[in-house]
Symmetry: C2
């Protein structure tokens, strides 16, 4: 753990996370900021590390299993046109997957979400629209959780 790492702080006590979706042994799913992409979750690794190659084979596979299962739960909850899976870490080099469902009514459906997200940085109205209403955010968490409950009980 690097004390200056914001994702180490976040994962140190998942129960303090306001928009926690799911706790896996090795990772934590939280609601993504931009719920215009309804169901968008971020999967945070519960230990510090920048690259998959730093993990043991067992941890790497477990983390990628968690990623796959969370993406599948989002698919089952919201039936997107396509899922986007992205692990970047250019700004915060602590492994985290952006799991972003994409929908046909998105005017930028053929592009990654980062163009609109960057524009939202200079446009508060757009930012609010991309974030979505608090009630919708809460309902989204519940719907993804329900799918993860089903999927993990099948797996167990």
């Amino acid at each position: 753990m690097t004390t200056a790492c914001p994702l180490c702080e976040k994962t140190a006590d998942p129960n303090q996370l306001s928009e926690l979706v799911w706790e896996f042994p090795l990772s934590v799913a939280v609601l993504g900021e931009w719920q215009q992409y309804r169901g968008y979750c971020v999967l945070l690794l519960r230990k510090h590390g920048a690259e998959l190659s730093e993990l043991s084979e067992q941890d790497r596979r477990q983390f990628l299993d968690d990623m796959s299962l969370t993406a599948q739960a989002i698919e089952r909850a919201f039936r997107p046109r396509k899922m986007n899976y992205e692990m970047l870490g250019n700004q915060v080099p602590h492994m985290h997957w952006h799991l972003i469902p994409r929908y046909p009514d998105d005017p930028d459906a053929r592009q990654p979400i980062w163009g609109p997200v960057e524009r939202a940085g200079a446009d508060a109205v757009l930012a609010d629209r991309l974030r979505g209403e608090p009630s919708l955010r809460r309902e989204t968490i519940e719907r993804v959780r329900r799918q993860l409950q089903e999927l993990t009980s099948q797996r167990a």
Copy 2:
């Protein structure tokens, strides 16, 4: 296989690919278009499918193992500041991973590569610069291959 799928066509006969990097049983690594990000590879699944959830557990894990190993080979060959892992498929919904090394001298190092790539669509000089020289492309393929040879022989 969907006959209209360009990635089904590409993976049908990997030996026809001009910038083939590596053949795995389930996937094929080719050099990515934008070698300003030196070592950038794309890992194509050798069967048609849009989402990880469509694969058997065995195939999904194998594909993600191939992804991890290719990314590790790029890291070993070029020592980037960070790797970006992206599976989008918004334009071509046939699973493929963009494995993109990022370097400190990149003026957009904190952002995904898609901003510059989009600008290159309207700027031939920028596009040529992002693509890189043919001789550098060939050398890059060799360097990633050498690392994959080492890594796969360790694994075998």
